[in-house]
């Protein structure tokens, strides 16, 4: 039972990956890149430290271009992040070897998050099972599990070495002469997992 799990190296996607192994799944971590930066290396590093298989899947650059346009038009990144995540799920779900896909999206996330019709549509269009181990967990539960499991580094998004969509999106905005801080929230803390605290 192999699952392809979208992975950024953050605590949510790491916790979700751990839960999948606890349910008896074989997990292959997948980090999305648009080939603009090599920040997927941070996810690979964490994946290796945690003992997971890892691969990089390159998405067409026009997806990031469209996301950047959205973010500029909206003046905030939410729709752009949602757009990238939906395309990433579709891309991975369409790969012939993929039967199950997964991510670390949570109940309390605003974006990225697929509503029920979109989740079912993803499963139906691509013939996959879409598994979200954190969807039924609130912030208290996620906190108690991650604190027990992982050594986590929490930093302001601009400084953190991480591998989520946001990093390449910020980079592309800068290339277009737009300061990401006019679009992304000023103080936005994100996390990166450095290793196991206790493996259960």
């Amino acid at each position: 039972m192999l699952v392809h799990h979208l992975y950024s190296g953050g605590k949510d996607s790491s916790l979700a990956a751990w839960i999948l192994t606890r349910l008896g799944y074989e997990v292959e971590l997948v980090t999305i890149s648009f080939g603009l930066l090599d920040n997927w290396r941070y996810a690979r590093e964490t994946a290796e430290t945690l003992g997971f298989r890892h691969r990089v899947v390159y998405l067409p650059g026009e997806i990031l271009e469209n996301a950047a346009k959205m973010a500029i038009k909206d003046g905030h990144p939410n729709n752009a992040i949602q757009f990238i995540h939906e395309r990433a799920l579709e891309y991975v779900a369409s790969m012939p070897e993929v039967e199950r896909i997964s991510d670390g999206t949570r109940r309390d996330d605003r974006v990225p998050l697929l509503d029920l019709p979109k989740a079912r549509s993803l499963e139906d269009r691509f013939g996959v099972a879409y598994i979200r181990p954190l969807l039924g967990l609130g912030y208290k539960t996620i906190r108690e599990l991650t604190e027990r499991l992982f050594v986590v580094e929490i930093r302001e998004s601009e400084q953190l070495k991480k591998a989520d969509y946001e990093v390449e999106l910020r980079h592309l905005l800068r290339e277009k002469g737009i300061d990401p801080l006019t679009i992304f929230p000023k103080s936005h803390y994100q996390s990166r997992v450095l290793g196991w605290r206790e493996q259960l």
Copy 2:
């Protein structure tokens, strides 16, 4: 980390209980009864077979009375089942020893299911964490896990020896001279777990 998990003996609530143990929680199964029947015994039997601690929590009979009125007025049981489940969660969440509550509700369930504002409200009002291990899983995933884990008996609801709200609700309707088959769907298959197939 003790969780009080609402438990009927069916495959969904059994799968959710198993997942909780895999996440490192200590699980106490809780079966709701209105004291009308002793069908909670089927849940206890399954709980013992699976090796879980189990207790019965009695809810005030007026909740079942109100639910029966709803079902009669509506001509279908959905609102009544939702009403009972919300009261059951509140009742268990309000018990002083309870810090975490859980149930086996699923992404694809219509009822009972708490939407996000209701789930957060439950957590906030009672100071508990509300954990739904199956919320992020679709029917394919639930099927593959339950088939691997459990020996399951599937029967028409009227015949199955089980311990969910429906049984006492049907009984109360009969006592009021109302045929439950005029309210519940004619062919409604439900499940009861008989034991482990393979414990992982």
